[in-house]
Structures are given as structure tokens and as C-alpha cells.
């Protein structure tokens, strides 16, 4: 029983890392970023590449990847997506445009990654057994969980307690109203997008220490992230974390108690139930 809870919570950490970034990008900047998974894999590739060529610890790579991804994503938003934001007449139009643009971008990133490493990012880092509350798990998963927890907490506190965090939340509620009260919507959106990209890439670097990825696997993570943020409520960091915990614990319970073959079925069942009974997500706001 405790086994299930520990494994489930650790898996939730992975899912939270996958989803928190997209939640900011979609919830605040309103960019339905289909290249989110590729950014994650890019972080993983950096960790793999630096570890195998320079023996650099993935935990150090995380520190490097975060600012680089922040700047990279800021540039993407500034030069690739801002024109779309400007010309879109409604949020729906922006979503369609951003889906198409980022879908195309995902292929470019895949192409770049394939040219660097076409095979599996196979390496091993800190896959040491460690006992947590009497249940055996691996050190790398535990570290990823703790960092996910730290990022989640920091984001939550920042969004709720700081002045800039309030501005971000305001943009997430309404771009027009935030503009009227003097918030620089373009700047806040760009920052949310860049921050989301940085978190996603950090997540990728951490996840690569215990899941073997390859250049083409990004879409799997994009889909998982989508399920989590839609379940949790778009733009709400609490929602994403709680949805990640639900998904992680339920999948592990089903795998251990019923059958590992049914984990995906269980995940989608919960997703459908949430959509049926709370279409705005667990913490989402009902549309006015």
C-alpha cells in the first residue's frame, strides 16, 4: 500500500514537471504550444549530451538549461508568436494560429535533435536504490520529485504573494482588463511563455535521468501535459499539480493492484469523468 503511494507520488512529480510549463504558456500567454514536448526532449538531450561527452552531472545541466531555455523561449515568443498575437481577433483565432505555428516548430526542433542524436538518449544517472518510508525507489526519481515540488511551491507562492505574480494571474484571467489597469500584457505574456519553456526544459533534463528518451518522443509528453492541465484547470498551478498527483497515484494503483496494461485506460477514464462533470477542470473558472 505504502509502495503504491510512494511510487505514485514520485510519478506525479514527473507529471507535474511535464505539465507546469505548458500550463503557464497556455494559461497566461494563451499559446497552445504543441512543441512543448520537444522543448522537454531538448532539455533531455542537453543532459544526455553533456553527461556522455563531458561527464557533466544532469543536475548541473539543469542550472544551465533553465536560463538558456528561458531566453530561447522568450525569443520564440517575441519573434515567432507575437505577430500571431497581434493579428488575432479572438482567443480562438490565436489558439488555432498558435497550434499550427508550434506544430510546425516541433518538426524543426525534432530535425535539429535528430541531427545531433538520432538514437536513444541512453545513460544512467543516480539510479541507486533508496528506501523511502520502507519502499524501494530510485534516487533519480526522488530528486526529480523534490525539484518538481520546489518549482511548484515557488511558482504558487510567487503567483499568489508577489506583485508580478498577481499581474501574471490577472493576464491569465483577462488580457483586456489587465491592459486597462496598466499591466504590460505583452511583457507579462512573453515572460510567462519563457518561464514555462524553462520549467519544461528543466523537467526534460531531470526526466532523462530515469526515462530513456529519443528525439521523436516529445508528442507523448505534450499529450500528457494537455490532459493534466485540462484536468486541473487551464492557468491554475494548483490544479496542474493536483491533477498530476491524481494521475500518478491512480496509474500506479491500477498497475499494481489490477494490471499494468490498464494504466492508460484508467488515465483516460479519469480525464473523461472530469470533462463530463467539471468541464472547466478541477480548479478552472466557469466561463462567464
Amino acid at each position: 500500500m505504502l509502495d503504491i503511494l510512494v511510487s505514485g507520488l514520485l510519478l506525479s512529480g514527473t507529471y507535474a514537471l511535464v505539465a507546469m510549463g505548458l500550463n503557464l504558456q497556455y494559461g497566461v500567454a494563451r499559446i497552445m504550444n504543441l512543441a512543448n514536448g520537444e522543448i522537454l526532449v531538448l532539455g533531455a538531450l542537453a543532459a544526455f549530451w553533456l553527461y556522455t561527452t563531458a561527464q557533466l552531472s544532469p543536475l548541473l545541466t539543469v542550472v544551465l538549461v533553465a536560463p538558456i531555455s528561458f531566453v530561447g523561449n522568450w525569443l520564440i515568443y517575441r519573434f515567432l508568436l507575437t505577430p500571431l498575437v497581434r493579428r488575432s481577433k479572438s482567443q480562438g483565432a490565436l489558439e488555432v494560429d498558435s497550434i499550427l505555428a508550434t506544430f510546425g516548430m516541433s518538426f524543426v526542433i525534432i530535425g535539429v535533435m535528430v541531427s545531433i542524436e538520432g538514437g536513444f538518449f541512453a545513460y544512467n544517472y543516480l539510479s541507486e536504490p533508496i528506501s523511502v518510508l520502507g519502499s524501494t525507489t530510485s534516487l533519480n526519481r526522488l530528486i526529480a520529485f523534490l525539484i518538481a515540488l520546489a518549482i511548484g511551491t515557488a511558482l504558487y507562492l510567487w503567483l499568489n504573494l508577489s506583485r508580478s505574480g498577481v499581474a501574471v494571474r490577472a493576464v491569465s484571467v483577462s488580457t483586456e482588463a489587465s491592459g486597462l489597469v496598466g499591466i504590460n500584457v505583452a511583457r507579462v505574456s512573453a515572460m510567462a511563455f519563457a518561464l514555462g519553456g524553462a520549467i519544461t526544459a528543466v523537467g526534460g533534463a531531470l526526466i532523462s535521468t530515469f526515462i530513456t528518451l529519443d528525439a521523436s518522443i516529445g508528442v507523448v509528453f505534450t499529450l500528457k501535459a494537455l490532459i493534466i492541465i485540462i484536468m486541473g484547470g487551464v492557468g491554475d498551478i494548483r490544479g496542474a499539480i493536483i491533477a498530476a498527483v491524481i494521475l500518478g497515484v491512480v496509474e500506479t494503483t491500477v498497475a499494481s493492484v489490477i494490471d499494468p496494461g490498464l494504466t492508460l485506460a484508467a488515465a483516460y477514464l479519469i480525464f473523461i469523468l472530469v470533462l463530463l462533470f467539471r468541464p472547466q477542470g478541477l480548479f478552472g473558472r466557469k466561463p462567464a
Binding site: 509502495d3 503504491i4 511510487s7 514520485l10 510519478l11 514527473t14 556522455t52 525534432i110 530535425g111 535528430v114 538520432g118 538514437g119 536513444f120 541512453a122 545513460y123 544512467n124 539510479s127 541507486e128 536504490p129 524501494t136 525507489t137 530510485s138 530515469f210 526515462i211 530513456t212 528518451l213 529519443d214 528525439a215 521523436s216 518522443i217 507523448v220 496509474e251 500506479t252 498497475a255 499494481s256 494490471d259 499494468p260 496494461g261 494504466t263 492508460l264
Partner: protein, 402 residues
């Protein structure tokens, strides 16, 4: 993702517009070879290890030798390659393009069982001989009857399960494992077919599957699977797994310190990256495939592979992939023509000297391949196979320490 020189492009253009007089002289010296396989998508990770480097190696070597002697003309190989994105529909579209627009003379068979079966009709329609490597199925007879241009070289589903069965029976007789086996499989066509066959064969031998579960492709956390296998207490663990999960299962086995004497995982266990990731921890792990690195031909091939592509050849289908190209090469030279029907007939009727030794086809099936290998001190050696020499003795898995 097209790789061809401007000259060849121009030549193709000239021929296409009907100015044969000028074009023919140019085209005469070139054999166009089409290759479609994944560079992106779920199967790309395998194809860039097993398929692409061998195609490049072979083309480079043949051209360095001055080309192939086709009825007295030395002809070099021009490679036209496309990425099918691991999408069968895309593959078929591109195959049509190879035949209709690029007008290639020959093709390299696709990567993956499903792709070979899906593309057999279209390649068959254009009469291309298709020497399939990365394709394992029990339906070969049916398929080769329907597509007489299709050849198989890497064995059958049953042969693969049989190699594992033999090891389990031997180890039970030696008293190192009991009657209990823990078996898992990835829930896709490949894993299900192998697991179904294994269930039959293992139970015929009186084994008991005390843990028998499947998991979806791309499962992020395999720890519940490994914990379940460990709790079952079986001393033998068999996984019909695919690349990402073959890695994931090994990692979890290390974490859980899975106490078994026989540990087998299927595809990708033979990849150098597998040994690279886990080092000595996976010493004595069994997996699909195998090779005999002590065979001088294999050793020479592996050295050339390393030198030309910069990558270590995998310890399984790499050699077979290269051998399939050698068969095509020898058949073209032997037949002395680019006529595809004549070359196909030549493949059926002759035997070929390859890195895998002497290969020949009976009912379009070459019965010489490795089925099970084992990591032994950093090298993945073949331990079971069909008509292959130099099998190493199976060793027992003793813990997962470095």
C-alpha cells in the same frame, strides 16, 4: 532528406524529358538505390542504429571499390533516401515516388515487421526484390507465397521464443531456476505475438507463469511491473519488450535488485547504448539477437562500421542488414543486369558469401540467424541461434552490482 548530387538530378531530368542520347551515357554508370526508413517517429531510435548506418557503409564501400560490375560496366551506387516518419501511409507514398519519379533500380527493404508487410504489395507491384531484415513473423510462408519478391533473413517469431525456451529448459535441468517464470510484454503487435507464442511453448514444457502482465508502449514508470515480478519469486524473468522499455525494465531491475538467475529482455538489449548505459550491471543479461564477434568476417565488418559511420554496430541485426545488401550486390553482379526479375530469380537460386557466412534461400527464407544473445564482459555474444557457429555458453545472472 534527399541525398543526391546535382549531376544526378540533372541526369534524371534529362532522361525524363526524353533527351535520352545525352542522358543515357550519364545514367549508365549509376545504379539508383532507394531507401525508406524512419529517421523520426517511434521506430527512429532503432532504425538509426541498425538500418541507416549499414546502408551508408555499404554504399560507401561499393563506390570506393569503383562500383559494381554489371555485365562489364562498372556502375556506382546513387542512394536516394527518405524518412517515412514511422508512418506506414507515408512509407507507401514515398515508395511510389521512388518507383515513379526517382525511378530507382533497387530498394532497401523497410525497417520493422509491420512496415515490411505493409509495403510488400507496392514494392511487389514494381517487381523490386525486397530482402527484409528487421521483420520477424510466423506468417512468412503465406507472405512469400503472395509476394514472391519478398525474402526474410532474421528468423520467425517461433524461432525467437524457442531460443528462450531452450535456455529455460536447460537451466531448469541444471537446477538454477524452478518451474516458475515471470513474463511481461509490451502491449503492441510485436509484444503480444511473442508473448502469445511464449505462453504456449512455455506451458508445453510444464513451466508456470506466476506473473504474466502487459504494459502500454511508453509507460513512464515500470516500477509496479518490476515489483510485481519480484514478488512472484520466480528465478527467471522474460520481457518481450521494445526499446524505451527494455532500458526502463533493466533500470528497475537494478533498483529493485531483482533476484533472478535468468533475465531476458527483447529488442534493444543488443544495442551498444544498452551496454553503455548500464555498464557491468547488466553483465549476463540475455536479449534478442546476438552475434559472434570472434568470427573474422564479423570482426572486420564491425571495424569498418566503426570507422565509416563512427558508431559501434549493434550486436544483432546490423550484421544481417549489411548481409542483405551484400546479397543484393552479389545478385546484381551475378545476374549481370539491372533487370529486377532476373535479379530476383538469381537471389532465389544462388547462395551468397556474406558477413553472416554463406546465405541461401529456401522458399524465400534464409535459415541462418541468431535468436538469443547475452552481455558477457561488455560484449553481447550470441548464445542461441539457427545454423550459426560460435555460440557462447549461457551464464547465470548473479546480482546487479557494478
Amino acid at each position: 532528406m534527399i541525398r543526391r548530387t546535382f549531376a544526378a538530378l540533372a541526369a534524371a531530368g534529362v532522361v525524363a524529358t526524353g533527351l535520352v542520347a545525352g542522358g543515357a551515357a550519364l545514367a549508365e554508370g549509376v545504379i539508383k538505390l532507394g531507401a525508406i526508413a524512419p529517421k523520426t517517429g517511434p521506430l527512429a531510435g532503432g532504425a538509426v542504429v541498425t538500418q541507416w548506418p549499414n546502408i551508408r557503409l555499404w554504399v560507401e564501400q561499393v563506390n570506393a571499390r569503383g562500383g559494381l560490375d554489371v555485365g562489364g560496366d562498372m556502375m556506382t551506387i546513387e542512394l536516394i533516401e527518405y524518412d517515412d516518419k514511422t508512418n506506414p501511409g507515408e512509407h507507401i507514398k514515398l515508395a511510389q515516388r521512388l518507383a515513379e519519379q526517382d525511378k530507382v533500380d533497387f530498394v532497401v527493404a523497410p525497417y520493422g515487421t509491420g512496415f515490411n508487410i505493409a509495403a510488400a504489395p507496392i514494392y511487389g507491384r514494381y517487381g523490386y526484390p525486397m530482402i527484409a531484415v528487421s521483420a520477424i513473423t510466423d506468417k512468412m510462408e503465406e507472405l512469400t507465397e503472395r509476394y514472391p519478391n519478398l525474402f526474410f533473413t532474421l528468423g520467425t517469431t517461433t524461432a525467437f521464443v524457442d531460443g528462450v525456451r531452450e535456455i529455460l529448459v536447460e537451466q531448469r535441468e541444471a537446477g538454477t531456476i524452478g518451474n516458475e517464470i515471470a513474463m511481461v510484454n509490451v502491449a503492441d503487435a510485436f509484444g503480444i505475438e511473442l508473448a502469445d507464442r511464449a505462453r504456449e511453448l512455455f506451458e508445453e514444457e510444464g513451466f508456470e507463469l506466476v506473473y504474466d502482465k502487459s504494459y502500454p508502449l511508453g509507460t513512464p514508470d515500470l516500477s509496479p511491473v518490476m515489483k510485481g515480478a519480484k514478488e512472484s519469486g520466480a528465478k527467471a524473468f522474460v520481457a518481450w519488450s521494445y526499446p524505451p522499455d527494455s532500458f526502463g525494465l533493466a533500470e528497475q531491475a537494478i533498483i529493485e535488485d531483482l533476484d533472478v538467475t535468468v533475465y531476458y529482455s527483447a529488442v534493444a538489449t543488443s544495442f551498444p547504448a544498452f551496454g553503455g548505459a548500464f555498464g557491468n550491471k547488466i553483465n549476463n543479461v540475455l536479449g534478442a539477437g546476438g552475434t559472434n564477434v570472434d568470427d573474422p568476417k564479423i570482426a572486420e565488418y564491425r571495424a569498418a562500421h566503426q570507422e565509416v559511420t563512427g558508431e559501434t554496430a549493434d550486436y544483432w541485426a546490423s550484421a544481417n542488414t549489411y548481409a542483405a545488401l551484400q546479397i543484393l550486390e552479389q545478385a546484381i553482379v551475378g545476374a549481370g543486369t539491372l533487370d529486377r526479375d532476373v535479379v530476383t530469380q538469381y537471389i532465389k537460386e544462388n547462395s551468397f558469401d556474406t558477413v553472416m557466412g554463406e546465405l541461401s534461400f529456401e522458399n524465400n527464407f534464409s535459415d541462418k540467424f541468431w535468436s538469443v544473445g547475452q552481455w558477457q564482459e561488455g560484449v553481447f555474444r550470441g548464445v542461441k541461434g539457427s545454423n550459426v557457429d560460435g555460440a557462447a555458453d549461457v551464464r547465470l545472472k548473479e546480482g546487479w552490482a557494478e
